[in-house]
Symmetry: C7
Subunit: 236 residues, 7 copies
């Protein structure tokens, strides 16, 4: 984030206000909430998308609910970085939207349509007084008629399509790994290897059991647990 001049007091306390140099400071601060979140990674593989994240290590927690990778539909998932309650809220919006789309049009929602829906909601929260921006970055991955898709939305409501992308506190380091290691049409095994490497580079001291991994193909959304991850990575 660009430094903020000391006399900018008050430009940054309500979302509907521009600073003299044309910045929306509240949106920039919400982006900091994303940068404080744990690292999340998404990768397009052959006929699928992989999403991965680091779960907090909480003894006695049922790991299913402390998750950061969410299933939206059997062909779309998403992973968030930042304020997790905001992610949960948007996930529910996404699920309802996906179901309504399926009922109304008789076919699964496309990944960009769903992403746009969430991005619009985020954008609205940056323009109307009485709302704060969403402090959450999202990687939305899925497989639709056009094949596998991976999108990112940030707190401003911008949406960008990626082949591989990382968000959260380790994003800068993880992106370098992705940039070097990404190949088109990777197998699940190679995708998992790259994703794990990116995650482990972004975060310090990653325990195997704290890794959350999901593979979305045209067949299903499947979560892969610690032991299965080992098996997958060592496959063939």
């Amino acid at each position: 984030m660009q430094p903020i001049p000391p006399n900018y007091m008050a430009y940054d306390r309500t979302i509907v206000v521009f600073s003299p140099d044309g910045r929306l400071l509240q949106v920039e601060y919400a982006r900091q909430a994303v940068k404080r979140g744990s690292t999340a990674v998404g990768i397009i593989i052959n006929k699928g998308v992989m999403l991965g994240a680091i779960k907090s290590s909480m003894p006695l927690a049922v790991s299913e609910t402390s998750k950061k990778v969410f299933e939206v539909d059997d062909h779309i998932g998403l992973v968030g970085s930042g304020i997790l309650a905001d992610a949960r809220y948007l996930v529910e919006m996404a699920r309802v939207k996906a179901q309504i789309n399926e009922i109304t049009y008789g076919e699964p929602i496309s990944v960009p349509t769903l992403t746009k829906y969430l991005a619009n909601h985020k954008h609205m929260a940056t323009q109307y007084a009485g709302l704060r921006p969403f402090g959450i970055g999202l990687l939305i991955g899925g497989v639709d008629k056009t094949g596998p898709n991976l999108y990112e939305t940030d707190p401003s409501g911008t949406m960008i399509e990626w082949k591989a992308q990382a968000i959260g506190r380790g994003a800068e380091k993880a992106k370098k790994v992705l940039k070097t290691g990404f190949k088109e049409n990777m197998s699940e095994k190679d995708g998992a290897k790259l994703l794990l490497k990116a995650l482990k580079t972004g975060e310090k001291n990653v325990e195997k059991e704290n890794i959350e991994l999901a593979v979305i193909t045209d067949k299903e959304f499947k979560k892969i647990s610690g032991a299965e991850i080992d098996k997958l990575v060592k496959t063939k």
Copy 2:
């Protein structure tokens, strides 16, 4: 809570505003209200959930109304820590929701569905101007088709599933007890012993008559009074 820089004046006075480092200070302060509340504990046992809390000692009060453990439905209960009037308000919301669900779908509401409902309400209060966050942490325990469930929601609207969890002013100490002592499929007796130990470690000078204990099984929601607690603990 992380320390707050002295020049953060005003970032923390309205909920819709992020601080420059991406924090929602009002939500953090509401979490302090939870940390000021008396200790509450929840534990999954064999085919059931136990919820426990410390009642204030008030002579001449009818103890039923100074309670902190509430029955939502005959299969779900909850215990709160923080601003009790907020708990009471959410309990009533929960009861109405549970009844509507039963009438509409002809079956009892599931524990995660009810928890999500309350968490959404809490989240909404963190995003819209004109509302303050709820200053209450909740442990929601119940038995549904999937067996016993225990969830926590905090003032941000996050929800996490636990096998055993403690909230309130003695939470840190009580959690250590739970971590050490928790076993899967404990009997009512062992569950009660662990829960009492956790409560007594979290709070100083706990009198027997100030302990509130509830056991929720697939058969019933039952409150256990001081004398019965003794009997239960000494059973068999």
Copy 3:
């Protein structure tokens, strides 16, 4: 009330804001309004409830309207301490609610149902911007199917059931009298004696004609005037 650090300026000027240590200062200030009010006392007796308060001594005032003990229905009454215009407003809400309940369900409203209704209204005023909390404590007493009931609600919307309770500026002293003197199933005479002793301990220089006393039984709500009080106390 806990002391308020000098740099807490502004946390206490709008209800929707938590202070850094998780307190709702406006609600605490509204409780001060209750503590500034004249003392009010309620006691459960045999098959009934007694409510008592001190009227201001105003020559030429028709004493009926300067009263602090209000009849809600012929089986429920309440007494308030704090901002009297707030009490009057809630009494009217209570009366309408009680009538609607009777018309809708064909039976008198229960005491806890009515109390919850008033407590919810008070709670709402602590969460929504654009409203101030109610600066009034209430003791609500009545006789319903379950027998005599006595409830208290404070400005936060908390509700507690009591066997005997005092609120207002003399509450601390009066509560000690109640604690020592309360017995289950007292007669009207003994109840009146205890209540008067509590009132006179809480307030200085109480004149007989300034005492307001009401007895609610399953038969009626009856106000007892100065002379009648004497007669009652000396009965049998």
Copy 4:
């Protein structure tokens, strides 16, 4: 009014806020508006009520419109002290309410019902943001089935029934006159004498033509002019 500590800045600038000691300063300030108004007096006499006030002396003004004593219905009147535009507004509300009551129930509105209606409106203005309190005190007098009634409402929405009462800048002095001189069942003549004495004690240099006097009986609401006042006072 109690002194206001110098550091109370801002507690007194919006109605929805309590001061740390539980006061609503805006309501106290509105009461100052009443205390700045000219003196007004009301007295219960035999089968009637008398209301009196001091008109400002304005040459060329048609005295009927600078009046402070208003007819609500042929059996109820009121006199105000404070911000006169507020009084005019409430008088119109009262007139409409009285007519609607008569149409709906086929009988004149009772004095306490009308007073409660106005008091509720005043109370509402002390609790909702976006409104200021009414800066007007009212003495409402009338004759209904229960005989003659005299009520006072202040800016907080409190209502008190009186046998005789004075409000406005000379209230303290006038009340002493009333206290000493009031008798039950006074004749019109004696009532007028007492009321005039109270008014003249409260205000300096009262000219006969500036006195406004109204007598409300079960027969009529009648205004009495300067010369008629003389005649009345000297009757029999």
Copy 5:
């Protein structure tokens, strides 16, 4: 206007707030807008009302639109002092109200009914947040069933009936002329002479062509131009 203590900062910046001594400063400031306006005069004459004002001297302006005396109906007119756009707005409200009254009741609106309507609108703007008071004083003159009427409303929403009255920057001086010179049942000629004298005393350097004069009788609302004024004054 009474002096405003230096520490009254902020009591005067939003209408819904009383100052500690019970004043509504925004209303007092709006009255200053009236006192800054050019002088306007109204007089009851025999079977009619005269309204007069000073137009600004603007070369090339079509004088009809820079007028300050407005026709509401053929039997009512008004003249304003203060913020002219506010006057224009209220004149249109008045015209619509007058037409609706005529259509609904089949007879012209009475002068006090119309005045009350405008005064209520002004009063509302002094009590609700989100509106500023109207910065306009009005003299409303007309002839209805009761004969000629002349009313004044100020920014607070007060209404007073006059035989002759002046508002605006020269009001004090003009009122002295009216007080000395007013007689009941003056002819149009004598009325015009008195009104012109009052206007010329209130304003310096009045040019004949800048005088606006209207006579309202039961027959018509007629504007009188500079030359006609001369003729009228010299009639008979």
Copy 6:
């Protein structure tokens, strides 16, 4: 504009507030926006109205859209000075209003009716919180049943009818030219000459191609381009 005392801070930051001397500072500031705009001139000629303005010189701009003289209907046009986006907004409102009038009443809207419509909209923006005043002055010219009309509205919502008028940064100088040169019933040629002289006196360095000129007669609204202006001025 009158000087603003240094301690007037805050009276000028929200429209709904009067300053202690009865001024609406935000409206005065909006008038400054008009005074910063380029000069615009309107003149009544024989059976028509002429409107003229200076376009900014922008190479590659299609001059039709950088215009400041707008056609509302084939018998009404307007020219604005100040914030051009405000002018465009009001022009569209005017066009819709004119069409609705024609459809509803079967005849073209009159010039004062349209002007009043725009002036009301401007006035509203000076009284309600949540809106800023319009920063635009308008000269509205047209020919209706009553012949040619020329009106001005300023940001306060005042409307004045003129024979010839200038607004914008060169208004003072241009008005002097109009005052000296205006004659009743000028021909198009003479009108154009006077208007051009006024424009060129108000603005420095006016290029022929930057002049915008429109003539509205009962036959048509016609724009006249640079070359045509030359031809017109040299006609006959």
Copy 7:
């Protein structure tokens, strides 16, 4: 942007406020957001319009979504400079509007009608409290019945028609290139050459693959990729 005096604090923190010299500072700051955006250029060519922009260089991004040139309809496109989430929002509004127009009127929307629609939306955001201005400049190009059209709208809601125009951080330099090089009826090849030259002059270090180019003719909206650009420029 004109310098802002140091004591202008607060005039620039809410959109509904004018500064004392008649400026809307928030709108000026939003214009700074446009000036911080990457350069965008539009040019009218023979029977078509060309729009060009610089994409950020983001490895692994699917370039289609990081685009700045958007297709609205098969005959209209637009390119934005500033806050891209605002552009995306307006593009969606434009697409819906275009479709509704086609369905309602059975013909494609004209370019000025669509531009006006977007400009109105931007203007509204500069006048109502509770909204911030849009921080985006747009060049809207298309071919309708009247031939090719190119419009610009800025954050104030102004709309201007151009033959060639540039916006964003390199606008000043690019405009000089356009001014010198623009010719009427250029071929696609010459248009592309001029547009590329303007872009490269406005931005430093432009990589071929970061250039986005679209040609809109009456036949189609076509995007031209890096390699195709080379081919086009070297055509014939």
